[in-house]
């Protein structure tokens, strides 16, 4: 494979992994109006959970169970779900900002655990040398990446189809009802609190899945992969793509990640070495501008939500 094609494969693997996170967030915010400001935390739990479960046994570390990769990912997802359940129980009956602040807090706390609980997470150095699923079947890293791209495409497609089916089901219609008018939803005999908790846990589980996939591809985890900026990037992806629309979530994920990657490339090429650290600031400023300008001038995003009108009123 030529350099560009190889880079494109790498780019798409990461972008589509993030698209799964964005779809999870879209389920929470786009459909149900739940404000998760700690996306990176649930992504990180999935990643670390998977890493600890699939990792090789190491004398000085807890974990290293050497489980098969699918089991490891399932474990990581379960841990993300559990964290979401605990935070959700405390905050989902409150105004949305409280959920935002609480999830923001859990993301910070998870980062602290990642950084400080060295016996489990390897601390700042992270966990290296994690097995990449089926790596030995492929002759070259290039072929393996192509295979992994297929895995991620398949997972993203499964998540997309499952979510599309879910939001078109009666359960999915209740989500929008909860988002739009909670009192009305309750008067129809629905339990908004239960719906919120279900959606919050489900969305965070998808973020955990993406975290596991990320670990399988990269082969190591470190706290640097889960900086708070990732939460803002995922939000930018959803806002730019258009919340309330799963296709929008995917388009936004690929688009914003492309902008991030290209601006990073441009900065590393154009700026002299002494200004490189400041260059990172420019990348983040672009994300901030993207969020603010989209909200101001195209609040529905690239592909907005399609209006749902009852067929009886047409």
């Amino acid at each position: 494979m030529s350099g560009f094609a190889a880079y494109l494969v790498f780019f798409l693997i990461v972008a589509l992994t993030y698209s799964i996170v964005t779809m999870g967030l879209n389920l929470q915010w786009g459909y149900t109006g739940l404000f998760n400001a700690g996306v990176v935390g649930f992504f990180a739990i999935g990643a670390y959970g998977t890493a600890v479960l699939v990792g090789p046994d190491r004398a000085h570390l807890i974990g290293g169970f050497g489980l098969p990769f699918p089991l490891g990912v399932a474990g990581g997802m379960a841990l993300s779900a559990l964290a979401a359940f605990i935070v959700g129980l405390a905050t989902l009956r409150l105004r949305e900002e409280y959920l935002a602040i609480a999830t923001f807090g859990i993301a910070i706390s998870i980062q602290l655990v990642a950084l400080n609980f060295e016996a489990l997470t390897g601390g700042a150095q992270g966990l290296a040398g994690l097995p990449r699923p089926l790596f030995s079947f492929f002759g070259s890293p290039g072929a393996y990446n192509l295979f992994y791209l297929l895995v991620v495409v398949a997972m993203a497609a499964i998540v997309y189809v499952a979510l599309e089916v879910a939001v078109r089901s009666p359960w999915g219609r209740v989500l929008k009802a909860v988002r739009e008018d909670e009192t009305a939803a309750r008067s129809l005999g629905k339990n908004p609190a239960a719906i919120r908790l279900q959606v919050f846990v489900l969305g965070c589980t998808l973020m955990g899945l993406a975290g596991g996939l990320y670990v399988g591809f990269i082969g190591y985890v470190s706290p640097l992969d889960f900086l708070p900026i990732l939460t803002f990037q995922i939000w930018a992806m959803l806002i730019v793509g258009g919340s309330g629309n799963n296709r929008g979530a995917i388009v936004g994920a690929v688009g914003v990640w492309a902008l991030w990657a290209m601006s990073g490339l441009a900065i590393s090429r154009l700026l002299p070495v002494t200004y490189q650290s400041q260059g990172g600031a420019i990348q983040v400023i672009l994300i901030g501008l993207l969020i603010v300008l989209t909200l101001l001038f195209r609040p529905r995003g690239l592909i907005g939500e399609t209006e749902a009108v009852s067929r009886h009123t047409r």
């Binding site: 609480a102 910070i108 602290l112 993207l290 609040p299």
Partner: protein, 301 residues
């Protein structure tokens, strides 16, 4: 133990000053401004810029590590921070306030916080900076308890500001308007309150206090572009603990958070200190979501 008490009160009073501004904007503008903590950063760096420009034309006033230049710089920084807050409100929040859900405001405050923090990083660089490198001698106040003169200044200033703000809110027309708007926006509007003026003053007061908080924070630790980001969780925890919209609640909440962080270090590894506000926050949300003093805007739906 005593030292932890002293340190906790000092951190707490810095958090409190930031939390007052946050609770006012949350109470009156009715959205959680994630960019508020970045006003703290901005204020701290604006003061640094002024101090750097004026230079130490006068030595420090003993026994403090700073002199008149820093006091002058703080006033300029407060004005510049208020200007930034008003500019952000005018450019971003005001257009978004008109039609959409208040959560759109919160998202936009995400974007704004990234912009402010990164512009500071771009201008001033990421390395730690100091207002002054003058060394101070800690005064032993009690056995096992030493306080720097700067810290006494911090505490005294906080007390003066809080008392002043109390009289302002209780006895002035503008203070009354602010309380009215926080209490019941519809009723306030029906009574012909100029909400735009009140909103403007809310930003001016909140941002100025954030700037003062930033300068005091910069006096006690080093200046970094992330100081605001690290304060975000303590600020929100203080506001929610004290009840959103409640100024004294915010002060008390700030003190509780500061003390809790300070004492927690005695029990858990220092690396986890930043999680303390989160644990308190979660506990408050489970047990008493309206805060210790029920805020003017209850959190419960």
């Amino acid at each position: 133990m005593l030292q932890a008490l002293a340190d906790g009160i000092l951190t707490g009073s810095i958090i409190a000053l930031g939390a007052i501004g946050l609770t006012l904007t949350m109470g009156i503008l009715r959205f959680a401004n994630f960019a508020h903590a970045e006003l703290v950063t901005w204020g701290a760096y604006m003061a640094l810029a002024v101090v750097t420009l004026t230079g130490p034309f006068m030595g420090p006033i003993a026994p403090f590590s700073f002199g008149l230049p820093l006091i002058f710089a703080t006033i300029v920084a407060a004005a510049l921070t208020a200007a930034l807050a008003l500019a952000i409100d005018w450019l971003v929040y005001r257009p978004l306030r008109r039609n959409t859900s208040h959560l759109t405001l919160v998202f936009s405050s995400f974007g704004v916080s990234l912009l402010v923090r990164m512009v500071v990083l771009l201008i001033f660089g990421g390395a730690a900076q100091y207002y002054s490198r003058t060394l101070q001698i800690a005064i032993p106040v009690a056995p096992g308890m030493r306080i720097l003169p700067d810290q006494i200044f911090t505490l005294a200033l906080t007390v003066v500001i809080v008392v002043g703000l109390h009289f302002f809110l209780q006895n002035t027309r503008l203070g009354l308007s602010m309380r009215a708007l926080a209490e019941n926006p519809e009723l306030a509007r029906v009574n012909g309150l100029d909400t735009r003026a009140v909103v403007r003053w809310t930003w001016v007061i909140g941002a100025s206090l954030a700037a003062v908080s930033g300068v005091l924070y910069g006096l006690s630790v080093q200046l970094r572009p992330e100081i605001g980001f690290h304060l975000l969780l303590p600020l929100f925890a203080a506001v929610i603990l004290g009840g959103v919209g409640n100024v004294f609640g915010a002060v008390l909440g700030g003190l509780v958070i500061g003390l809790a962080e300070s004492f927690a270090v005695l029990v858990v590894p220092a690396g986890y200190k930043m999680a303390v506000p989160f644990i308190i926050l979660l506990a408050v949300l489970y047990l008493r979501p309206t805060g210790i003093f029920a805020g003017t805007v209850g959190g419960v739906k």
